[in-house]
Subunit: 265 residues, 2 copies
DNA sequence: TGTACATCAGTGAACGCGCGTTCACTGATGTAC
DNA sequence: TGTACATCAGTGAACGCGCGTTCACTGATGTAC
């Protein structure tokens, strides 16, 4: 430990040439595999093709990944992480008080990332790969974007609760009836369908107990709707009926802001 | 033409034993291919495996389909048609005046069909198959469900227009501000994002010119949202956070009815 | 009704290619004394 | 600083399997006279 290397501060820096080479080549393998995704899809991902691309013999790849599926898992995890990082960064750049803006920034960056990495997007959110079951290790990275969205909703709930405490009755956002189901928080639009509430509290609600169920339900719906739209665009279902899906996304985000009570941007 | 066959009325009935056998075997090939979808996915669909399943030699399949891709196209077309028929039937069974009920019936039957045919659903709405481009022949069957939904929206627009003509001001559905952008029809919720209107008129609007653009935009969003939710459910993204996606769908349909101004069911 | 010919379903072999994974091996890099 | 040994990256061959598509062929079915 007394020989502190030239680049102080690089915490996980490789200590030996071997280690350095291993990292580099691991990265090259993953990069080549990612490129493969574009041509053959997740199912067509081939260790042999990756090895060929790098000028190695196919069995050499087994020094780095124990199987094709392990390589796929790495692609999944890195994909979720890249998307999550992009969304976190975009959302963090917006004024904390601008809830609608934060939500919209997150939504836009999901779409941008998807358009820049269509095949990785398809891997993350398209049809599952037959014969492959994503391991637990993917769950956490996959939750980064939902976590960002939940953060916005939690802040919205906190703000609404503060308003309800402070202000006199009648200062709540106009024209939005309180959910027939919920408590004091001004829930967005009609009440919850019977039976949904306990289910949300047992499921998604455990990730964000401070978000009231009405809001949570609409948040989940909005998240699914967002990915539905991006999938439509990337998978070609808008061809012939919607020219610029970006505008449709803006519409969706504007409607979301209204339905979720995020206030005008 | 003078030998009118036993079964009068069966218009496209096969005239010869050969023709009868051809139809039957064609059907068996498609059925075996459909079963293959479940095990290997669209990309893994294999003519040889289909032939094996039917006890034929692989080259025999070429008497029925000129290539693997042609077989895939048939699966696509039949899938869209099956889904379309299911949705049409479900929607047609509802009282014409019950717009929210018609919309909900269509939405529910999309989900039911998808759950009953998850692999066909993945073929239709999941990631595109690498190296395969869906031919024009799939466009028409693919539009059956959207057409049903547009029909509901068109009826909603007609009903609202009639109300606006007949009734005195103030009888429109309460609490829903008229879109800032549109004409006389009571558009759902806030106005359209700038730039979206001309695009809709040029695109999706050409299929249903009688539907006002505010409604059309929300209809497209709702359709994408519906498939987003079904995809989430079928592709496993709800695992751990949403137990019963059926309830979530009901919530979505209820919200849709409100947002689209379909009136209470 | 019967015969001659055309159509077409299905066979079997082959072409040329792909894949994931294992295994015994060579030779370079790293480590302990 | 130098030597002996352990680690590990990469090789090359092999196993056993898959695929789409073509082609010359046999034999049954259909049709025209």
């Amino acid at each position: 430990v007394h020989c502190a290397g030239w680049h102080a501060g690089a915490v996980n820096a490789p200590r030996t040439a071997r280690e350095r080479a291993r990292r580099e080549i691991t990265g090259e393998i993953v990069a080549a595999a990612r490129a493969q995704l574009a041509e053959a899809g997740a199912q067509g991902l081939s260790l042999r093709a990756v090895a060929r691309e790098l000028g190695m013999v196919s069995s050499a790849v087994y020094r780095y990944f124990p199987s094709r599926d392990a390589l796929l898992t790495t692609l999944l995890v890195e994909g979720y992480d890249a998307l999550g990082a992009a969304v976190e960064e975009a959302e963090a750049a917006v004024d904390r008080a601008d809830l609608a803006g934060r939500w919209a920034a997150a939504g836009r960056s999901v779409r941008s990332w998807a358009r820049e990495h269509p095949h990785e997007y398809a891997l993350l959110f398209g049809s599952p790969v037959p014969g492959y079951a994503a391991p637990r290790a993917t769950v956490d990275p996959a939750s980064r974007v939902p976590r960002v969205l939940l953060g916005v909703l939690a802040d919205a709930a906190a703000r609404d609760a503060a308003r309800a405490d402070d202000g006199p009755p009648g200062t709540e956002p106009a024209g939005r009836p309180t959910g027939s189901d919920g408590g004091a928080a001004p829930g967005p639009r009609p009440g919850l369908v019977p039976g949904l509430l306990p289910q949300l509290e047992a499921g998604a609600g455990t990730f964000a107990p401070e978000v009231p169920p009405e809001l949570l339900a609409r948040g989940v719906l909005a998240w699914a709707a967002l990915l539905g739209m991006v999938s439509f665009e990337l998978f070609g279902h808008f061809v012939g009926s919607v020219e610029d899906a970006g505008l449709l996304l803006e519409q969706q985000l504007a409607d979301n802001a209204a339905a979720l009570g995020l206030g005008a941007g």
